[in-house]
Amino acid sequence: MGVAKYIKDEKDAVKEVIYQSGMRVKPVYTPEDLEEVGFSYEEDLGEPGEYPFTRSLHPQGYRSRAWTTRQYTGFGTPEETNKRFKYMISHGQTGLNVAFDLPTQMGYDSDSPSALGEVGRVGMAVDSLRDFEIAFKDIPLDRIGSGLTINAVASIMLAMYQALAEKRSYPKERISATPQNDILKEMIGRGAWIFPVEDAVRLVGDSIEYSMAELPRCNPVSICGYHIRESGATPAQEIACAFGIARAYIADVSDRGIDPDAFVGRFSFNFNVFGNLWEQIAKFRAARKLWAKMLKEDYGVTDKKKLFLRGLFGGGGSGLTKAQPENNIMRSAFYALGAALSGAQTTALCSFDEAYTIPTPRAALLSLRTLEILMEEVGLRDTVDPLAGSYFIETLTRQMEDKILEEMKEIQDVGGMVSAVSKGYIQRKVARQAYEFEKGLQEGEYIKVGFNKYADEGEDQPDVDLHQYNEAWADEQVARLRSLRRERDINAVKTALKALEQAAQQKQNVMPHLVECCRAYATVGEMAGVFREVFGEWQEPQLF
């Protein structure tokens, strides 16, 4: 996915280049192209660190600070995950991004019948605050920020992180958590949703409102174009959908009488880098500009810092292949280059074995080293937005802006993201696009090296050391959960859950009650169970 369509003649000369977002690319760009699009340094770019931030959020870019590296990490028990956190940090990783297992993501305890076979499989099992205490042991919460890749129960995990900070005597004003907390993208393309759309969006709003007041260094949402692109969206649609989602969350909070100016500065994004290099770079430069413009013109935000499109631009999984997996090391290096040339604040890569399962320490380390080499050795810190002024890149950036705006208009025309997602409009569209791409790949219209060109003969499976799932982790986790239930003050838990239920029923902000529940060692299943009772579960719209 994500590669351009190349139409070649019989001599392998490239006659046509068509990007996924729709642009046709010429063989040569000149100053005339800039004239044609009416390019102006002041209007289109501005100085780095100045509105509209096309070149960079900060005047000195990576000269002031290298990017933050946050490899997605977590599996098995909290002990196993703590070990891997420390391993990655010891090798130079500067931030955490926590992977949770599916029962946790879906609000089930590790001993729930629904959890069978899944405890600790795709991420760490977390049942209560006790698990967070183990997972984050020895991690300095005032110096390392934690991404929490959690969505349907993000409010619960954010509350649990605060409760953890309290236990470890960190003031809550000093901790930095970034729960992903983007439920609309789950409904489009990641699938870890639980509650109906309206209630789910209100939970996002609750965490934003709460975080504004109580957790000033936290980023309560990380709006994800990433997964929407993985699901089949073009790069331009990725940005358009993310901005549409942002509008929906802004609306939920501003409908409470709160000025967007007060909270939008802490929004963050999670975007995808794979496929065509230039298309990605143009996409990010255009996105920075359009986000700042949108906030200023549509929401009246003026404070410079609040106009920043802060993002994790990460290497996309769908670019990688199962065949000849070591090729993925090189692919990811090129994606990381794209992220660096785009000025990503934070970055991460899928590891080369991730088409098979979650990464081994060696594979994760190779990803981290890729990111370090870019910053330390080959010159990506040298100067801000090095491609600025390129006839090609500036023309492409302007074209990408137009495409993104077109896609945003389509979303507005179908009633905005909440409506589009509730009715399945976006889901059907991206699924159809993903299918068309896959067909094109199978028919040789798109090339993936090692897969449909330069592929290996025969069915020989690559010799890759893989991460092994250990069933003992599930037993250990369940044992810990059972002893927790015996040891905690059950009355405190019941009282806290009751208050949570009332807040949920009365549509009051649930966050303070969740913090109380976490302090009392209520379990994820218990807290999510309250929400399931009160809100029910979403019924997906039909695919066809």
């Binding site: 899944e118 870890a192 088409a355 399962t357 699924a431 993903a434 896959e438 039909q542």
Partner: protein
């Protein structure tokens, strides 16, 4: 040869929410002329079996991306046998290591299509499985 249209239930069992593969294959099977019912996410095995019965499908296609294919497949085959659904076939696709294919077939799965399997192969295989022309190894 049976020329009746094949009815297939494409199902997402368990907690895994990665449905791109399921949706892509559902669209491909529909384009190939099959009647496709897609369950959506988070289906319990019992729900899948009930839907298969209600919809009178010839075959169930499971899509599993989380690595939990072994326990899920074993259970569904067991439960279907208990319900007497011997005439409904089961195939599975998703993130499935090559070395697990034999074990899945031994457990009673009629076809295994790890990610990247060409559409034609899946379509032809399903056609021969349903028409009974397919014989599993003893």
């Amino acid at each position: 040869m049976n020329n009746r249209t094949i009815r297939i239930l494409v199902a997402k069992p368990g907690l895994d929410g990665h449905d791109k593969g399921a949706k892509i294959v559902a669209l491909a099977l529909r384009d190939a002329g099959m009647e496709v019912i897609y369950t959506g996410l988070h289906q319990q095995i019992e729900q899948i079996i009930n839907t298969a019965i209600q919809e009178s499908v010839d075959i169930i296609g499971l899509s599993i991306m989380s690595g939990a294919h072994m326990p899920i497949c074993k259970k569904i085959v067991q439960d279907m046998q208990a319900e007497g659904l011997d005439d409904v076939k089961v195939v599975v696709g998703g993130v499935i290591p090559f070395q697990d294919i034999a074990g899945l077939k031994e457990a009673g799965i009629d076809g295994v299509y790890p990610g990247g399997t060409p559409f034609e192969e899946i379509i032809e295989d399903i056609q021969s499985i349903v028409s009974g022309a397919y014989t599993s190894p003893a």
